[in-house]
Symmetry: C2
Subunit: 343 residues, 2 copies
Amino acid sequence: MGQQKIRNMEEFAAVSGISRPTLSKYFNDADSVRRSTRERIEAALSQYDYRPNVYAVNQNRRKTRNIGVVVPNLADPFFSEIGREVELACLAAGYSPILLSSHGKPAQERANLDSLRALKPAGVLLAPFGKASDRGAIERFCKDVPVVTFDANVEGVCEAFVGTDNFQSVELIVEYLCRSGEPPCFFEMKTPSNPNANKRRQAYLEAMERHGFAPKIHQVPGEGWNFEEIGATEGGRLISAGAFETDTVLCSNDRLAIGMLSAAYELGVRVGHGKDCVMRIAGQDDHPFSRYTCPPLTTIAQDYGAIANRAASTLFRIIESETRLTEREETVFDGKLVMRASA
Amino acid sequence: MGQQKIRNMEEFAAVSGISRPTLSKYFNDADSVRRSTRERIEAALSQYDYRPNVYAVNQNRRKTRNIGVVVPNLADPFFSEIGREVELACLAAGYSPILLSSHGKPAQERANLDSLRALKPAGVLLAPFGKASDRGAIERFCKDVPVVTFDANVEGVCEAFVGTDNFQSVELIVEYLCRSGEPPCFFEMKTPSNPNANKRRQAYLEAMERHGFAPKIHQVPGEGWNFEEIGATEGGRLISAGAFETDTVLCSNDRLAIGMLSAAYELGVRVGHGKDCVMRIAGQDDHPFSRYTCPPLTTIAQDYGAIANRAASTLFRIIESETRLTEREETVFDGKLVMRASA
DNA sequence: GAAAATAGTTATCGCGCGTAAAATTTAATT
DNA sequence: AATTAAATTTTACGCGCGATAACTATTTTC
């Protein structure tokens, strides 16, 4: 194989004995040609290895088969994991994913949407910052390109949203914590940009009320994405000050919990549900590292795979139907309790 | 601003009063036109918001301004971090980075190179798997596209390599460990795919000899990228079996160390250099999470920024000179000792 | 086996822009 | 003001492929 260099479809038509328009049809949809000619094309293809020029193809096609995937921060293993799932779903459906990270900066999110616009994507899967996002920019973008958001919801914007049911999952862990020990107080950042954080707080309040306990929320200052640092510094401060009302702390997310666990260790405070333990710490998200904390973190697992696949399939449905959804869809998946040693 | 919709450069030429070829020159290099016309163009640009069609541009340009960035696994924070640095360097130089992860699978690395080929990138920054990489595929790719590898070297392949000086950095930490306590034994995977692992082992042997101690290496089975898991399972097994000759263990990388630390915690083995500690554990890489382990991990920090920037600037130099390097360049940066509580 | 349906062919246009050559304008120099 | 160099405009072509129309070949249907 690999004889002469094929420069374009014309040349490939010559060597394969198939006319160029038929080849064009084949490359657009292999099943649109007769079985016998398809086999002839693929035989020639294995001999001459030719691939249509992406730029020429995308210039002329009405819409590309590119799917933009935008996540707020690839440095967060949660997003690199879910980003990977989304990429795989796109590839499986015959689309070309283009993964962009906003590096923790809302301004970059907007820049990413601008870059994507130039690539004329068939659709975009966006995990937005939430409140920190430029809502106007996203709205404008959604007018031009079908968008499905995941992880974080921006109320009323885009075709659909797929995420986790924070109320269900918080109830799950609050119930467990109340049943197995002292009711939890809640630890979070004062100004969380992620809308899930607000839902989780609300869900915590409701769950505690439902179980007949008085909720206690501790909000700490801190900015940016260095959650472990904030969890360690502020969590450690609260622990050593004896500020928590009960011996059980439910953190708004795993990364805060990871930081707090490290602070507890430094302070010599033994964490867990064992006899010699003096406090329990739980998180939310089932961060990839949470099983290697000391002690391993009890948390709520989000169904990464389900979220990614549903978001992707919803987008493909919109793209392929060529009509926008008449009604905005919101899908949330249940979280699962992951019991480890920390609570 | 934003009156009528400009569909192409022709229309923009009409409304701006500048000829299309001049506009074309401007978009290729804003400084290639006279200052006064540049200002006229930019004035019109702010009124009509027009951007050249990427696909049409790339189809006709001899070479694109795309830079492929391929890392072995974005789920590893080390690579997401260095990937980010590389992306920023590309953007700063006016190139368009395209970030691809091989998801821990060498076959995907090859697939990524194939996808990149279709995008006709001006160059590629590749962090290869190393021995697990398809050397032939990389070599063939390098014939068509200028490539600079980073992090992991593939001897003799590609234009240049940029990484960390494993011999320097291992010496640094071995010297520290020997000076401050018992000499370290070495913990690693039996079949590391990363070439750095082999260099680190070699460097450990040499450093120990230099300091007059007998080296001891522990190689454990395990496959894939779940290093923490391997570190926890196998490291824990060795700890509880009392298999380590000295109380100090130098792990081949931080992720193994993170796993081993969690195993030590489970076993109630106190790690650190304090009085009540029974063993010391050190790592290499300064993984983003290593400061939140229990205790925080003593390690060797790689200079992510320097590596990323040097790799990028080397590639740009090759691209812009339009000639391949006469001699393959290898650049390594020194690691820095990061002293924390674990050793 | 002829008509109908399907698939393939030839021919031709257009997409939006890079690029080259020649003609023209503008700016810099003497 | 005349000469020269530099920048811009005009004109024209080409990139590789999508799309379509009109025609021909092949396959299906009864």
